[in-house]
């Protein structure tokens, strides 16, 4: 697939999504909006795990912090824009603070550490009844005053724009190389002058920011929150979306969050039995069997890699190695 046809496909994908409000009923439009909001938390995993190689089992914690910060402030009468700003700031700071110890952990230890954070936030939201109303749920959250179709286009623009930005960051910028160098080999990264710890802190903060933005949007869109929206099982659901999409591929992330949100709903045709979950689980397994790189891996395989042609510039034109003509400094 050439670069041109890839652009046509991208445009087609966005165009099809943009016509959804005319094609589907309110129920499915609602699902599409939620899926696009959830794509933001999948992006947060793209940045953290996909680009930088840090595994987090606690992303739902950041989503919860963002959602409840917005929700609680909004209920207290804070202007939605200000509440949203706080809803982005609080999880970002939490991500930075979690990063301070977590960036020193690796592998399983990092996974368990972040899981602990997720559980902590979940429990906190449940038990701080005075602030969050706990299991009774937070009611009366104010929104941005959008109707449903506006919401759809708003989150669509956000999700597609972020997807493009992340793909660009990943493939085209120096920062992408810096992040991936840390992911693939920390020792050679630091020998090349990369401050591995600082990069990990940045990744944690950026990831928490993205997850927090997902929370803010969820709260503003649904206008009702309960702590069980942010339990650890949710973290694993996001992780599954990320894996099916291909960890590290933002394009895969948005497609996978759309599919993995739509399919369980479509499977309700089976009735409210567990058959639905069985089919869903099998489907995910099949994706992983046949597409180990996820949807993003498939996209990469279809793309023809760009080849650059490097011609030596005049001022660096160095002679080709001519072994025989070298003066030996015989000892």
């Amino acid at each position: 697939m050439s670069e041109t046809s890839a652009w046509i496909l991208r445009a087609l994908f966005v165009a099809v999504l943009a016509t959804l409000p005319f094609l589907v009923n309110g129920y499915w439009l609602n699902m599409a909006i939620l899926a696009l909001i959830y794509s933001l938390v999948v992006y947060s995993i793209t940045v953290l795990t996909g680009f930088t190689g840090l595994l987090s089992f606690g992303q739902a914690g950041f989503v919860g912090l963002g959602g409840y910060t917005y929700g609680v402030l909004s209920v207290k009468g804070v202007d939605p824009a200000a509440a949203a700003a706080w809803g982005l700031l609080v999880p970002t700071v939490a991500g930075f603070l979690l990063g301070l110890p977590a960036a020193r952990l690796r592998g399983h230890y990092l996974a368990i550490g972040t899981l602990g954070f997720g559980v902590l936030v979940g429990q906190m939201l449940n038990n701080m009844v005075d602030v969050t109303r706990g299991p009774m749920g937070l009611l009366g959250i104010k929104s941005f005053g959008f109707d449903r179709v506006t919401w759809f286009y708003f989150v669509l623009a956000l999700a597609v724009g972020l997807c493009a930005a992340l793909e660009y960051l990943d493939r085209r910028t120096f920062l992408g190389v810096v992040l991936k160098s840390v992911k693939y080999d920390e020792i050679s990264a630091s020998a090349s002058g990369i401050g591995v710890f600082a990069v990990k802190l940045l990744a944690f903060s950026a990831s928490a920011f993205l997850a927090g933005s997902c929370g803010v949007l969820l709260a503003a869109y649904m206008r009702f929150l309960t702590p069980d929206l942010f339990i650890s099982a949710e973290s694993f659901r996001y992780l599954m979306m990320s894996v099916v999409g291909g960890v590290g591929s933002a394009s895969g992330a948005i497609i996978s969050s759309l599919i993995l949100t739509a399919v369980p709903e479509a499977l309700r045709a089976f009735g409210e039995t567990n058959v639905r979950l069985l089919v869903y689980g099998l489907m995910v397994l099949f994706v992983l069997w046949f597409l180990p790189g996820g949807i993003g891996g498939l996209i990469d395989r279809l793309m023809t890699p760009v080849r650059r042609r490097i011609t030596p510039r005049p001022r660096v034109a160095e002679p080709a190695p001519q072994p025989t003509s070298l003066p030996g400094r015989a000892s």
Partner: protein, 260 residues
Amino acid sequence: MSIPMLQLRGVSKRFGGIQALQNIDLVGQAGEVHGLIGPNGAGKSTLIGCITGVNRIDGGEIRLRGDRIEQLPVHRRARLGVARTFQKIRLAQQLTVFENVAAGLCAKRFATASGWRGVLAPLSSRAIAEPVEDALVATGIADLADEKVASLPYGKRHFVELARNLVAEPDVILLDEPATGLTDDEREHLSMLVRQMAERGTLVILVEHDLNLVGRLCDTVTVIEYGRRIFNGTPAEAQDDEAVVRAYLGSAKLAKEAQA
């Protein structure tokens, strides 16, 4: 005499009960090719680790251009101009040659506090593409720029690592057995690169088992055995030094002499 580029004084390193390095002195001048040789397990790679910061030393001092660096972490020393290759090549296998070499630019770009400002620069921008392409041309791997490192033969990976170092224009470059697994042609190309680096004023520290190569390239050699420095001088002197011959050139040579 001017301040040496790199100066080690009394460097010691202990791993648990093993004294890996004891009281090592080493002086390297800008533009010098300095061989570091010794039998397997003598402590050569440990010493490289001490200079680059992977290993924290237990005693002594390391000075770069007169400033002590032994307390600095690895990435800070890299930013001050200390580059290295690894005995067991360390590259991002899943990234392309171009990306691996571009990562080498970090040492230069992050050397100043404002370095973070340029991180969003596209890889195709001149500030990045030009030095990377120059390094690829110099190391003879320009045609492999968009190959993944994982798909390259072993010898070529050495040159990717070299390009990654060269692109940062380091003041000190530590090559840990760079000729291992190279063909004769590649070995010659490596020799040429080492000479060019030295001509540009870089201090090259070469850890190598190929004594022929060491003899041809190095101005000075330091020989270590069991973590102690047993010799420092020119390669020619080293060949005549009894301790060196016994320790490193091995029993084979002594046996041959005994036969003669």
